[in-house]
């Protein structure tokens, strides 16, 4: 074994290199940050189709007779009893209620009609979560990490599903939001889910690594014909920020209790047990803990990660991500703030490199697509 850590590469790595992708290291992976202009990539996703290689995300398959209850014992959101075809956003928490990861749990039916569970985890947390799940499962369930054997492609935007259906046997638009299914692209079995990280309609495909480039190239051609195209991680970040979706390592971390993250919909405590449940219930009542909110700044200056949030000269919070939002055309941020200042409409200030800028706490999300 080499002591030098190898940079991981997506099955689409060669394509990105040949196609003008600016490659950067992201969570140990070499991934495209952008191909052209971030704003152009952002806008094509809002208006037509954005294609994203998200193969760095971890993809774990589960097996075992007790897998449903084994998973349910570890997720903040109820997994037991969730119907086949459904996908649940959930948190994984440690005994202190700190957030280990935010994940999607898929309960799907294979082409062979057999039900199965899988999970998509963050690239930066994959090794940690694989070890944690393996230990917690014991003999109750088994885990197979198929990240390297597969690729994951997000096809996002108002025109996404209508183009994907030209390749897939199943129409992604026939799925409800946060539903998925196995289907065929030619003679290749793939997973299609009506999920994403942009605030747009669309779907995500999980495909065998060896077929990834061929499928990607077909999608590039289809998207290009309707005003869409490929996007890098930078546009993915501005899109998810406008949609107020949290990003692990920024809005979420082990140092943040799940109760602080304004993700109440993903925490089901009634009649359930999972790591950190007690600590999460206690944190909900702890007025001294900060909560996640959104901010809009006056002007075009962006309040980015670690910018202090100030009221009356006192630091009352901290920004976790921020940018100038191309669609909302405002300087937007998310962060954590002392609870008494968390109400939308509260005037706050930001200390950006020693200069004070005015802003306000706002309702999330910053951007919501028209239904």
């Amino acid at each position: 074994m080499s002591s030098v850590e190898q940079v991981l590469k997506s099955p689409l790595h060669c394509w990105h290199g040949k196609s003008g992708g600016k490659m950067v290291d992201f969570a140990g992976w070499s991934m495209p940050i952008q191909y052209s202009s971030i704003v152009q990539e952002h806008n094509q996703t809002r208006n037509a189709i954005g294609l994203f290689d998200v193969s760095h995300m971890g993809r774990l398959w589960f097996s075992g007779a007790d897998v449903e209850s084994a998973l349910d014992a570890l997720t903040t959101r109820r997994i037991a009893g969730v119907a086949g075809g459904k996908i649940r956003y959930s948190l994984l928490t440690n005994d202190e209620g700190g957030i280990l990861d935010d994940v999607l749990v898929y309960h799907l039916t294979g082409i062979d009609s057999q039900p199965f569970y899988m999970m998509v985890v963050n690239a930066s947390n994959r090794a940690k979560i694989v070890a944690w799940l393996t230990e917690k499962f014991g003999d109750a369930a088994a885990l197979e990490d198929r990240t390297a054997a597969t690729a994951m492609i997000a096809v996002q935007g108002p025109k996404a599903n209508a183009e994907v259906v030209k390749l897939t046997d199943l129409d992604p638009a026939s799925l409800g939001n946060y539903e998925g299914a196995t289907t065929m692209i030619g003679d290749v079995e793939v997973i299609v889910s009506r999920t994403g990280y942009t605030g747009e309609d669309g779907c995500e495909l999980i495909v065998p690594a060896e077929n990834a480039t061929q499928i990607w190239e077909q999608l590039v051609e289809l998207a290009g014909a309707v005003g869409g195209g490929v996007c890098g991680l930078a546009a993915r970040d501005t899109l998810r920020l406008e949609a107020a979706m949290p990003l692990y390592g920024h809005e979420l971390s082990e140092g943040i209790n799940a109760a602080q993250a304004s993700l109440g919909f993903a925490i089901n405590t009634k009649g359930r047990q999972f790591p950190g449940k007690k600590a999460i219930l206690a944190a909900r009542k702890n007025e001294s803990l900060r909560v996640r909110v959104g901010f809009v700044l006056e002007g075009k200056r962006a309040a980015r990660e670690n910018v202090p949030v100030v009221v009356d000269g006192n630091v009352v919070g901290k920004v976790t991500s921020g940018t100038f939002g191309p669609t909302v055309a405002k300087s937007i941020s998310m962060g954590y703030i002392d609870r008494q200042y968390g109400e939308p409409g509260t005037q706050v200030q930001f200390d950006i490199r020693g200069k004070i800028h005015d802003g306000v706490v706002v309702e999330l999300p910053f951007y919501k697509r028209e239904a």
Partner: protein
Amino acid sequence: MALANTGISNERRGVKIVSVENYLFAESHEWAHVTDEGGDKVATVGISAHAVEALTDLVYMELPEVGSSVTAGESFGEVESVKATSDMYSPVDGEVIAVNSALPESLETLNDDPYSQGWIIKVKLSSEDSLAKLLDHAAYEKMCNEG
């Protein structure tokens, strides 16, 4: 300024052609054009076409005050892009005698004409020592293409 990635081709379309033969460039991608104005040496300072291309999606620029002093290698202002906030480092020592105050509201100028209309500040030089550390255009282009 610190450019995380300089992997973008320097070949750009639509850029106004300005002779930059007499321009000097910092490795941090700022340029200085030194002229003689009534006995004073004055440097007009901006950022290179390569920097504009690499930053992409500029949204805002923070300029210094007229009358403030700048030091070679130290930040004289910031440029905000969708992706990041970047310092602009002064290539020269001296006093700011003019700023292009129209520029922050029309940053697209930098895409079209980074070497004349896209000037950022004018500095009356207090010393010419820093000029020796700057690159001529050919050396700067070579650095970008090798980077």
